[in-house]
Amino acid sequence: MRKVAEKTKKIKVKILRSKPWEEKKPKYETFKVPIEGKMSILNVLNYIAENLDPTLGFYSSCRIGKCMGCQVVVNGKVRLACVTLVGGDIILEPLRKFKVIKDLVIERRGKE
């Protein structure tokens, strides 16, 4: 029989948070997120926003790897949050070289 209730484990998600309008320095914040089934980084971000911190800023749209809007830096590498599965603990940062609007949200215009 295929198991439906897969064992829940918790991972640590460290996110670089910014509020540029307050002119404070970005700082890392860590959340603990339960992983049930195969979850993407976008699932994790939605979990945090819904359950832990509604102020978390991130952008997503198509959530199937086409609009490229949810690109973030995951453990130092540029990845799409929606199609990248979560294994263990992760560090999330906004794309480099773009102006940050809030947390993981960047100003796309002018660069493409």
């Binding site: 295929r2 439906v4 509020k19 309008w21 049930e36 089934g37 195969k38 979850m39 993407s40 976008l42 699932n43 926003a49 819904e50 509604p54 102020t55 978390l56 800023g57 991130f58 952008y59 997503s60 749209s61 198509c62 959530r63 199937i64 790897g65 086409k66 609009c67 490229m68 809007g69 799409l80 929606c82 199609v83 599965l85 609007i101 809030k102 947390d103 949200v105 960047i106 100003e107 796309r108 215009r109 493409e112």
Partner: protein, 592 residues
């Protein structure tokens, strides 16, 4: 300080305001600006091509095969086709509810719009013949390849682009639309747009259902803001579903299962319920899993609602009737892009060993056939308000043909820009009613300023669950009555109690989601009321209690309009120009 200065953080004055920047909005902006007027285009997304349904389209764009052969030199195209045959196929697909005046223009102008795309550098990736089409008409142009061209062309013009901005409401003054208001997520500003003409290119409302192939922001915003402003909507009882998405795991919930493995592909798996019954035998004993999308979705949902589904709320799709070596040899002849990749997903990560295990599959909300009622010039029933693309109704009738969403967005996007541009050019100055702006601002800011309150995420999930079980793929009088009363209760009693926990105005997802939630609830009221009235099954509406298509009493369109704060529905006979619809009562899913 003026009153405007106190209420609005920013005022943008323009001639033509376009809401939505994708497959309909971008062509609209290019046509409007040719008229020598100022054009402002607003998107909820981070940039052109970074949101909306266009970029998710896999996708083909329908043009009659004769034009493809003679005008575009596509060797695989079939000269026996004609615009008239394309017209007839659209009516058969739409179960004769299409507005034939619109369909005539649609088939006539499709080749010209393909020409536009090619002139912008878009390449044709191939030609396919999808079901419902008598000839190969599907010019393959994935949305991901289309939108970068449109972005580049639009950025090369003087079209003013405003990103990260949700337009929430239209502004009216006396008998016309004079602009809109919205929130800019990047700056937190409440913006007042003053415009001589407004075009809504805001897409569908698929997010009302828990499983959907559509992007996150498609919550019916345009349709509901038009409704609130007093515009007419049409064919709202026809949200359309696809028969095959993953219900689980979370990473791919709502994502299409490669149809080459599930329904209608090279290899169609057997769809089984929990008793192992290949239930399509009750619905289509000839074609089984190769049946049409509407019948497949209804059959699957029948099993799911009866409790005969799979653990995560779908049905089983099995290839186990095939020998192991056949399954192992699939990858030698089925191109891997057809079943091993979807969007950015590598399907190997999500598919089980197909020799041994099944895939769970669920119908998913895919398209919205109805919407804002337009005429041939994309004019709505309100002066100064135009609309184009999926947010409109009339072109597809009760069901859309595969590939016709892309044709709709470019043909009608183009027309809306042209006619709105001309309208704005001939229009005098407009003035804004500041009391109205003040009221709208209060409505938008109320949830942000409310202390505590209910969770928007929970209410959204509740809405989606009720929509799914009682007002989705399968409906009946009793389920619709219940759903309607639940939606009204949610909107009147629970929504006013929903609070936004985050108080910042800059990029506040929860705040936007609360505004979307109100739109979704109004959309569901329209879906329920129009479905309740229509005592038959047709196209994307299946009513268990009235399973036949009644061409004697129901060759009618339902028009939804708000009058004195109440939703009213009027019936009108379908618009016929060329083809008389059949006059018989038919079994659901059959055209003749």
């Amino acid at each position: 300080m003026s009153k405007m200065g106190k209420i609005a953080d920013r005022v943008i004055e323009t001639d033509v305001l376009i809401v939505g920047s994708e497959g309909a909005g971008s062509p609209a902006s290019l046509e409007a600006i040719k008229r020598g007027v100022k054009v402002t285009m607003v998107t909820k997304g981070s940039h052109i091509g970074r949101s909306g349904a266009t970029v998710t389209g896999d996708a083909d764009l329908d043009v009659d095969s004769k034009s493809l052969h003679d005008r575009f030199g596509l060797a695989e195209a079939d000269r026996r086709d004609s615009k008239d045959i394309f017209f007839e196929d659209m009516l058969k697909g739409g179960k004769y509810l299409n507005n034939q005046k619109l369909v005539e223009i649609h088939v006539e102008e499709a080749p010209d719009r393909l020409e536009d795309l090619l002139s912008w550098g878009v390449k044709i990736d191939g030609l396919i013949q999808a079901s419902g089409h008598s000839y190969p008409r599907g010019v393959v142009i994935p949305g991901t390849k289309l939108m970068p061209h449109l972005r580049r062309v639009v950025l090369g013009t003087n079209v003013e682009l405003v990103c990260y901005t949700m337009v929430t409401d239209l502004l009216t003054n006396k008998d016309r639309v004079v602009g809109a208001v919205g929130i800019n997520g990047a700056t937190g500003e409440f913006i007042v747009f003053k415009a001589k003409a407004v075009i809504l290119c805001t897409g569908g409302a698929m997010r009302m259902y828990p499983y959907t192939t559509a992007p996150e922001e498609l919550t019916g915003d345009g349709m509901v803001m038009a409704y609130r402003a007093g515009a007419e909507l049409v064919d709202m009882e026809f949200p359309m579903f696809l028969p095959g998405a993953f219900p689980w795991p979370p990473a791919v919930a709502g994502v299409d299962i490669p149809f080459q493995l599930s329904t209608g592909g090279y290899i169609a798996g057997w769809m089984l319920n929990k008793y192992g019954d290949r239930f399509m035998r009750h619905w289509d004993p000839v074609r089984y899993e190769w049946s049409t999308r509407d019948i497949l979705s209804v059959a699957m949902m029948t099993e799911i609602l009866a409790g005969r589904g799979s653990p995560h709320g779908g049905v089983y799709v099995s290839l186990k009737h095939l020998p192991d070596d056949l399954i192992e040899n699939l990858e030698k002849w089925v191109p891997p892009e057809f079943y091993m990749f979807y969007g950015g997903f590598k399907m190997k990560q999500y598919l089980p060993d197909l020799r041994r295990e099944s895939i769970e599959s669920v119908p998913a909300s895919h398209f919205f056939n109805g919407g804002i009622r337009i005429n041939e010039r994309c004019e709505t029933s309100l002066n100064g308000l135009f609309a184009a693309g999926e947010t409109t109704g009339g072109v597809h009738g009760a069901n859309r043909l595969s590939g016709n969403a892309f044709t709709e967005m470019v043909v009608w996007g183009h027309r809306s820009g042209r006619f709105a541009g001309e309208y704005a050019k001939g229009s005098g100055e407009v003035s804004i009613d500041m009391d109205q702006v003040e009221k709208l601002r209060k409505r938008i800011f109320d949830p942000l300023e409310r202390k505590g309150g209910l969770s928007q995420a929970n209410l959204r999930k509740k809405l989606q669950q009720v929509a799914w079980e009682k007002a989705g793929v399968i409906r009946d009088g009793e389920s619709l009555e219940k759903a309607l009363s639940e939606f009204l209760k949610m909107r009147e009693e629970e929504l006013p109690e929903v609070g936004v926990r985050a108080k910042e105005r800059i990029f506040n997802r929860e705040w936007i989601q609360v505004i979307e939630l109100e739109n979704m609830l109004s959309m569901m009221e329209m879906v329920c009321r129009t479905s309740l009235n229509r005592k038959e099954s047709r196209g994307a509406l299946y009513r268990r209690d009235y399973p036949d298509t009644d061409n004697i009493n129901w060759l009618k369109n339902q028009i939804v309009i708000q009058k004195e704060g109440k939703m009213e529905i009027q019936n009108e006979p379908v618009v016929v120009t060329k083809i008389e619809p059949p006059k018989k009562i038919l079994k659901y899913g059959r055209t003749e």
